[in-house]
């Protein structure tokens, strides 16, 4: 912040709108897309969530009826509970596991490239494939249970998919297997950016490596952690295909998720209003998390 900065700023401001017109014209399509598709369609959805729309959108307003029904539906309540549990556990575990894997790979191991490929590989599979693979692995007749029983341990039982209490754990297993690799690779790249001198300095001072990681390196990695968190969080909110492929919401409604509720309400029950109400709730919950975070992260201070 120098004196010249302050002096130049007011003079530049009025010209901002018209400066560099070609770039602005080039950006216009994207701006329109954002306004019409993202904001416009979201508003349209929110407005129609207050209507009685069935198969086709209607404008017969019914106030908060759709929301009342939504929050009185056991399947929706179960979905919200499930995504809360899944979300928190998945977020914590993928960050912790991802960081541990990244830190281990950063120890100048041999054949690091091969390890990196192996760890990132599951991320290249779609959730549908991941779901099917794990459905087979966890199937009691063909999967782990079947194999262990085949070795002679007849009473071995491992059937998490057909037990309402353990099905979320099974889903986490599949989700973490797929998603942790990406987190690890992002954090590994960030670890490489940490100045070697910090390590040398801490070694000279006799600080143990784990303390250096927690008190020095992790704070430096903050931007990378933020990127990873945003990526994981968006994956959690839109979680749909993994459920469909792995359990289809079952057993019963023990692994239902909000996105699946939205799809079923709109297309199977032919009740658009109900689906819009549910998707509006998803939007609201995302905004509730995102807005405070955005203010905290970007508000107030200007960087550079």
């Amino acid at each position: 912040m120098s004196v010249t900065d302050h002096a130049r700023a007011p003079a530049r401001r009025p010209r901002r709108l018209i400066s560099n017109p070609m770039a602005k014209i080039a950006a216009l399509p994207m701006i329109m897309t954002a306004l019409v598709i993202f904001i416009g369609c979201s508003l349209w959805t929110v407005v129609h969530s207050f209507t009685k729309s069935k198969l086709l959108p209607s404008t017969q307003f019914v106030g908060f009826d759709q929301y009342e029904r939504l929050w009185g539906t056991r399947r929706w309540l179960a979905s919200v509970e499930n995504i809360a549990i899944y979300g928190v556990v998945a977020l914590v575990f993928s960050l912790v596991l991802g960081f541990v894997i990244a830190a281990l790979m950063d120890q100048k191991v041999r054949a690091e490239g091969a390890f990196r490929t192996i760890i990132l590989f599951p991320y290249s599979l779609s959730f549908i494939v991941t779901g099917l693979v794990w459905q087979w692995i966890l199937n009691p007749d063909f999967g782990v249970q079947g194999i262990v029983r085949g070795w002679g341990w007849e009473s071995f039982t491992f059937d998490p998919l057909h037990n309402p209490d353990t099905v979320l754990a099974a889903m986490l297993m599949a989700g973490l297997w797929q998603g942790t690799g990406l987190v690890a690779v992002i954090l590994l790249a960030a670890l490489r950016g940490v100045d070697e001198d910090i390590w040398k300095a801490s070694r000279v001072d006799g600080v143990p490596a784990w303390k250096t990681y927690i008190f020095v390196v992790i704070p430096i990695l903050r931007p990378a952690f933020m990127t990873a968190t945003v990526l994981i969080a968006t994956g959690i909110v839109k979680l749909y295909d993994l459920v469909v492929a792995l359990t289809n919401g079952g057993p019963g409604i023990a692994s239902e998720m909000p996105a699946k509720y939205v799809y079923d309400a709109m297309f199977n029950k032919q009740n658009l209003g109900q689906g819009f109400a549910a998707s509006t709730m998803m939007l609201v919950s995302v905004l509730l998390i995102l807005i405070p975070w955005a203010i905290f992260e970007f508000g107030g201070k200007k960087r550079g």
Partner: protein, 411 residues
């Protein structure tokens, strides 16, 4: 030189245009008949259509059950990429599409072919009619009120084949001892919901109508409906350990004798037929859980989305004629396990189960399907409820209360 090239190009264009003018059209037909028995049956329709007309049947099978296929079909019609013809169930599913003017009016074909006379029972044509105009071709009568039992399974357990639900319930412990699953079922809401419908209609027609048509609060809270939920509780125990999702995998368990019984629509018969089993010898069928034999006359119909092309429209109408013709009706329904929609066809080749269905139909023991009585919204909610009930230890009282609420709130 230039003019010559132009002339050649024009001639080429004209030659290309010629075959288009000679109105053979490719009709894309979407449906969700993908299990072995079903695919076999739909092949009969394609063969008949291509043999009788110059047009081509482009098969657009959508894998999965109706719940997977229907959204695809409806979004394609709404989204302006309609297929030429599509399977949908009779009832309220397509009503809004018709009201929005997205479907082809078939009234002239229907009058010409005298559909009002030949289609039995009449309710099928009514389901296709909106404001006096006909919009679909009823193809077959499907009923869901069937229970299929495996003779081999009972033999293995050393007991006589059962004749109704009560006997099956009594036989369940012995079947378990012999390592046989008493009741096979795919763990999907729509299959589990059949049990509710069938216990209701199997108790009596009046009860069924009081619940689904009249939505009578006193009846809903009566002991008769509560008893149905007690039976569901028994069914939940008998089905524990089934671990399959798809209906045809559950049917396969009955065919193999691994399971004793399955409650499923008459299309299960197509699977038995495909496995080379014979009704009466290898498997048996009971209507209405062995209680009151009434069958619903839901079923499949073909709808023709409006396409702005005279040739396609003409071809669509020809397909409609082929579908209702006696030959196609017999060929298709024999393979499908369903009943034909016209009373005047020869079904000498029908098996004992189909005969049973025809007798019930002839005796007028016909009930309206749930699709026509309650909205897809309520149907879906009942399916969710059953998925929850069969997948957890939800109490029968809670399930009953939730069921009452769904029915009473249905518009």
């Amino acid at each position: 030189m230039k003019t010559q090239i132009m002339r050649r190009l024009m001639a080429g264009a004209a030659a290309l245009a010629m075959p288009i003018a000679a109105n053979a059209a490719d009709l894309e037909v979407t449906h969700w008949w993908t299990s072995g028995g079903e695919a076999n049956a739909v092949q009969e329709l394609a063969k008949a259509f291509e043999a009788k007309t110059d047009h081509k049947w482009v098969d657009g099978a959508i894998a999965g059950s109706g719940n997977t296929a229907r959204p695809v079909i409806i979004s394609r019609i709404i989204g302006g990429d309609p297929m030429a013809a599509t399977q949908l169930n009779h009832g309220k599913q397509a009503q809004e599409l018709i009201e929005a003017g997205l479907m082809l009016d078939l009234t002239d074909i229907a009058e010409e072919g005298n559909w009002a006379e030949i289609i039995q029972p009449k309710s099928l044509l009514d389901a296709c009619t909106v404001d006096g105009r006909v919009y679909c071709v009823p193809l077959n009568i499907h009923s869901i009120q069937w229970m299929w039992t495996s003779n081999a399974a009972f033999e293995k357990a050393g007991i006589d084949p059962v004749n109704n639900w009560e006997e099956l319930k009594a036989a369940a412990p012995k079947l378990r001892e012999a390592g046989i699953l008493p009741l096979a079922m795919g763990a999907q809401g729509w299959q589990e919901a059949y049990l509710v419908h069938n216990f209701l209609s199997g108790t009596s027609e009046d009860l069924y109508y009081a619940v689904y048509r009249d939505k009578d609060e006193d009846t809903l809270n009566s002991d008769a409906v509560k008893a149905v939920f007690e039976e569901l509780n028994a069914a939940r125990d008998m089905y524990a350990g089934g671990n399959v999702q798809d209906w045809n995998l559950a049917t396969a368990k009955v065919i193999n004798g691994e399971a004793a019984a399955q409650v499923m629509g008459d299309w299960a018969q197509g699977e038995f037929a495909l496995a080379g089993q014979k009704a009466g010898e290898d498997y048996n069928c009971l209507i209405g859980m062995g209680g009151e034999p009434s069958i619903s006359t839901g079923g499949d119909a073909f709808y023709f989305p409006l396409i702005d092309n005279a040739d396609t429209t003409a071809a669509q109408k020809e397909l409609a004629k082929v579908l209702i013709s006696p030959e196609s009706q017999v060929a298709f329904n024999l393979k499908k396990g369903s009943l034909p929609v016209r009373g005047d066809v020869d079904l000498a080749a029908a098996g004992p189960c189909m005969q049973k269905g025809l007798e019930t139909l002839a005796a007028g023991k016909v009930i309206t399907g749930t699709d026509q009585l309650i909205t897809p919204d309520a149907v879906g909610q009942i399916q969710d409820l059953m998925a929850e009930f069969f997948g957890s230890d939800m109490s029968t009282e809670d399930a009953h209360a939730a069921f009452v609420e769904i029915i009473l709130n249905d518009e």
